[in-house]
Symmetry: C2
């Protein structure tokens, strides 16, 4: 008897979700890296506040970078699967997908949550009449929202990889 097909979800759908994850995370990291500093004039000269001055935002950045690396790796594997019909690594790889997707989706979820919590409470603590502060926080919100969206796609990938698990019982 031939073994049952090893994927319950079409590789094309799986690939699409991976690409969406990657795009969300990429835009998010671009927002953080390129644009997010805030300079405030004070009596002691200009004080520059960077996104990475906050631990929660540093964690967000770390989570996104890890997510990007993993998603790029999985996207490459899925493109190989779609184009050749062969899965690199066979059933062992399905286990790796399952645990990898799970861990990465948790990493992205916690990154978005830490950053979102920070931004919400900063909004109540700082003077938002200063348009620079407001812009800084808006960009933090944008980066966080994109990470959250990336997490949702990663969670969908994680559901797909659970469906594809070889039956153990």
């Amino acid at each position: 008897m031939a073994p049952p097909p090893s994927t319950a979800v079409s590789p094309i759908v799986s690939l699409l979700v991976r690409i969406l994850t990657f795009v969300c995370l990429l835009i998010s990291v671009i927002i953080i890296l390129i644009t997010n500093t805030y300079t405030q004039s004070s009596d002691f000269g200009d004080v520059k506040t960077k996104f990475t001055d906050f631990r929660a935002y540093r964690y967000l950045l770390g989570a996104i970078v890890i997510g990007l690396a993993y998603t790029l790796f999985q996207t490459a594997l899925t493109i190989f699967l779609v184009s050749t019909g062969n899965r690199i690594g066979g059933d062992g790889m399905l286990q790796l997908d399952f645990y990898g997707d799970k861990v990465i989706s948790y990493v992205l979820a916690t990154g978005a949550a830490a950053s979102f919590g920070m931004t919400q409470d900063l909004k109540t603590l700082v003077d938002r009449s200063d348009s620079g502060v407001d812009k800084f926080l808006s960009k933090a919100d944008a980066a966080t929202s994109l990470c959250l969206l990336g997490f949702l796609f990663a969670a969908i990938s994680s559901i797909f990889s659970a469906f594809s698990l070889p039956k153990r019982a």
Copy 2:
């Protein structure tokens, strides 16, 4: 041909993990609800800071309460399964377990992350020489750590319920 057994993991192990999740979350919620206020004397009288004054901590509390309710429900179902050998709801319930466990583990992960991020950055922002503030933050850390531990057990439950999924392909 008889259908394959519907659970890849022993119900006893599954029950144990649910109980551990429940205990962690219960202690965490007790720490938050009973003990965590902080009173500071000022020129305008006493200023009372409550755990729930912070949005990130409110989210933590909400996540834990949702986690507790869900875990209690699942523990009851698992006790029924262990004692009678019958699963309430059959295969449809396995799907519900899978999605439920997944969502709840994300809820707990984000709760812990939001709260942890908040506490870490508060530590850098506030005056920690005041022992009251320090105690407040230590208790926040304790509640967060227990939520994180609860999340880890919930994630294990989520892995178990993925193994138990009926094979779709």
